[in-house]
Symmetry: C2
């Protein structure tokens, strides 16, 4: 009897294992589709434009300012021994490989040379000491590399791909019996962008034009063989970043094949239940980080719908439709009898992201996002003629909306609230609007009311600012939307950004989710969406 039970258990667990992988017959094909859609990277050789002096300046972003000092010729002229600590400026943010060459100028090198190269996206990153390192992310993200050259002349290319505008070069070892100079440096910059977006309307506010330009650069730098979140860090495909990048791409570079590749990659690398992992890696072979973010998983469906609308490529979207249907399931178990999502339990089982801001209560945001995703997925089903697959969605949207209006709106304060402390936040207003819980008028009223709420929780990073801005525009808060963009993204422009940052708080240059601001990414995809707003809503931003 015991043996029989054991056999039964073994058999059933094997059967279960096989049954577990809902996409078992599709993964290989999806991965191959992703591979076929891999873009060729466009390589451009770039030269530094000059040598800069990094100066302490309390008024500058993070206390450092890059002051032009010498034309780049001065790098190549004469002994490098007296130039240790020199900082080169490429004049723009680059992603790619760095090469330098050295040659003898007195005698012959009778010993190796040892250099430290520090690659920096922003000035402080070139100048602040990295050690002792207290950050919560790997110290290895920081782009300081030590290299030994055994012979001279030599040409050396760093095997590591780097993201930078500034390059600091320090000489750590050389022979006193010979001398050398650096004869050449160059960066081989890569991107999968090959097109040029349409120009903005003549007369567009110059700050908006600058924001657009920097947003385009940010997006271009992140568009490699996937939509990366940031080319310095984390250099990978996250669903949340994909959603925003694909939006921005649809209104600028229109490289829809890259979007297709990312949709397939994520599908192929989802977990056995069919739930999408929050992020995936391309190298050494495509693989996921096994970690489902509930809000990101649902955003996938929005990417799919936007992709269909931008391309009309029904074949791809129908191929991936089962994935969209599957993502709906993730949230369902958390819908309580009162039709509010149990966000505490969901947050225990999955990572709920929404924003970096600590202390943000995510009840309202989650309720709004689920409603939004369900409604959009149903709209997608209609485009595909697949309404039957998701027939329950319209009523779910209705009941969830009703519960949200009943429980999450404060009719006295005229704002949406979240959690037992009835927290008031930008996140809650944004997602209640995007979910269609608030009417335009209520949304506008709520946003306007926020400034009077003392304890209002502000967004902690550009990612949430995107959703706030989208919601404000939907509430016809045109002037306010433009002002927000001018103040927030324009704030980065005024502080010298070449690309938009992962984290930006106008009041705190040193804000970091990682306990080390130097490890922040200063070219981060989720900050690029002004590109989308400016071009989608010309009546708001190009007037």
């Amino acid at each position: 009897m015991r043996i029989l039970i054991s056999f039964y258990l073994i058999f059933s667990s094997v059967a279960q294992l096989r049954a577990q992988d809902v996409y078992k017959d599709m993964r290989a094909r999806w991965l191959e589709k992703a591979r076929q859609a891999t873009p060729e990277l466009r390589e451009t050789v770039k030269q530094p434009i000059g040598v800069v002096s990094m100066e302490r300046d309390v008024k500058a972003f993070q206390g450092w300012r890059a002051a032009p000092r010498h034309p780049i010729d001065s790098l190549y002229t004469g002994s490098f021994k007296k130039k240790s600590g020199i900082v080169l400026d490429f004049g723009e943010h680059l992603t790619g490989h760095f090469t330098f060459s050295v040659d003898n100028i007195r005698g012959v090198a009778d010993a190796p040379l040892r250099f430290k190269f520090t690659f920096a996206e922003v000035p402080a990153e070139a100048m602040m000491p990295y050690d002792p390192y207290q950050g919560t992310l790997s110290r290895a993200w920081l782009q300081d590399e030590i290299v030994t050259l055994s012979e001279v002349p030599a040409t050396y290319t760093f095997s590591r791909r780097l993201a930078f505008r500034y390059v600091k070069i320090e000489l750590l070892g050389s022979s006193r019996y010979s001398d050398f100079r650096i004869t050449h440096v160059e960066a081989k910059a890569t991107t999968s962008v090959t097109s040029t977006p349409d120009a903005l309307a003549p007369g567009t506010n110059p700050m908006i034009a600058d924001i657009d330009k920097i947003g385009l650069t940010t997006l271009k730098e992140c568009m490699q063989t996937v939509y990366e979140d940031g080319p310095k860090r984390d250099r990978r495909l996250w669903i949340g970043d994909l959603y925003l990048e694909a939006l921005a791409n649809a209104y600028s570079y229109k490289n829809h094949t890259l979007t297709k590749r990312c949709l397939y990659l994520l599908a192929a690398l989802s977990n056995d239940k069919g739930y999408l992992n929050g992020n995936v890696f391309e190298k050494p072979t495509p693989h996921p980080q096994a970690n489902v973010l509930l809000d990101y998983a649902l955003l996938y469906n929005l990417v799919l719908k936007n992709y269909l609308e931008a391309t009309g490529d029904k074949e791809t979207v129908i191929d991936l439709w089962p994935v969209a249907v599957k993502q709906l399931e993730i949230a369902k178990p958390y819908i309580q009898k009162n039709n509010l999502l149990d966000y505490e339990k969901a947050g225990h089982d999955y990572w709920l992201f929404f924003d970096w801001r600590e202390g943000l209560d995510k009840q309202a945001a989650l309720q709004g996002l689920v409603i939004h995703a369900y409604r959009e997925t149903y709209a997608l089903a209609k485009l595909l003629g697949k309404e039957k697959d998701v027939a329950e969605l319209p009523s779910l949207v209705q009941t969830l909306t009703k519960a949200a209006r009943k429980n999450l709106y404060d009719p006295t304060l005229k704002v949406f609230v979240s959690g037992p402390s009835r927290q008031v936040s930008f996140a809650s207003q944004a997602w209640m609007v995007l979910g269609g819980v608030a009417t335009k008028a209520e949304g506008a009223q709520a946003f306007r009311a926020l400034s009077a709420v003392k304890s209002v929780v502000y967004p902690g990073a550009p990612y949430l600012y995107h959703y706030v801005l989208e919601a404000m525009i939907q509430c016809d808060l045109k002037a306010e939307s433009k002002t927000l963009m001018m103040n927030y993204w324009g704030g980065m422009v005024s502080k010298g950004a070449d690309t938009f940052w992962e984290v930006y708080d106008p009041l705190n240059d040193y804000l970091t989710p990682y306990n080390a601001f130097v490890v922040n990414s200063y070219c981060h995809a989720w900050s690029c969406t002004p590109v989308y707003f400016i071009r989608k809503y010309p009546e708001v931003f190009q007037q």
Copy 2:
């Protein structure tokens, strides 16, 4: 008129330039001969034998002792995060390339890994801080390398060739969200040695046997595509090291083709006057360090003679005979009317090496070396039937010898003296004996008298110990020679040497010519000559 003068000057200087290169028709052919003689390197894959604990021990060489700790399996088992600082022991000195592999053991790497590897020939080199560096040679010789791995799993091979027994691995950066282990390390060790030397006589003193074994390893490690001086530093062909390595090779590995290659390389890369540069480099293309060492240049002729005697390869030696004749000229201008060499002037014009010991007066050593080289070159001429080319040598040897006996021998002290202060040194006795200035009896008497001379200048490095030992053997000081080897080279053995060191003072473990003992070479060719002595003089060392 002015123009005419200018033309004349230009013409004459061009003519002079061309006329200057005495070997202009031969260099390319010599370089090609050197290329043809390049040995294939034999590669052997080596695994570490264990993990050691580096312990402070005042009795140990340079204060550090490697104590066996764990079998090597412990490196590969479990997370590497808790193993930072681990020191691997390969159990022997290796020269070559180091490779390691990593793989995930928890989650997937969501960030790069950053390591510091320190490769050490001796224990202290693995443990002493290198910075701030006060050495006079390039800091870049020290074998600490920082490496960033952007993906996991990964296999990384250091592009730099390394020389080491111990490898310290420190983890400088990793993700807290995943974990990894080192799955494999190996060294691809190279040497051009392919043969096995004859065994020593049964009953050879165990310490002599140990010295022989370590000498053989030292030589093997230095025999790469040239006779290097040291595989860690300076990794190149010096004439002085070549002389000693070729001697040792002739009595052990018998790879005479390597000697031939080195003879051709040096000839091809001599200066326009035909004088040999003290050292040459193979990479990136063969080139010399333009620096003539007077004593080294003359030693070339001895290498040539020894090569002929070992191989009978007259074709090569006759091809290079003009070089030998040319080297004789370097010393000639310094022969004064009294037939003593003006060693101060010679030392001003050229580097006179002989030994690292500061304060060594080099008059007697130079006089002895010139006589020795002239006599040996004449002997070589006789072997080639080329006496007419160097007909003046016999009389020069006679007059130089006579002057040395008259001026440099102190009949009261019964020792040879050097310089105006009448300095007494091992170097002077050795070279007066090798030059044949001293009779066997006088030489023996002089060496025996040294211990009573309070201010006697001892050798500063194994290089000079070689000449001292050779001279002592020539004076039939058999027991004393064996004692010297047992004490000096045996001292290194007792202190744990795997290979013999560039610098060794029994009384000072920290002796360094470079103001940083960690940059000393601990596998240095010029220390390998016990191999030669033990095998050439079995009656002295194998009894």
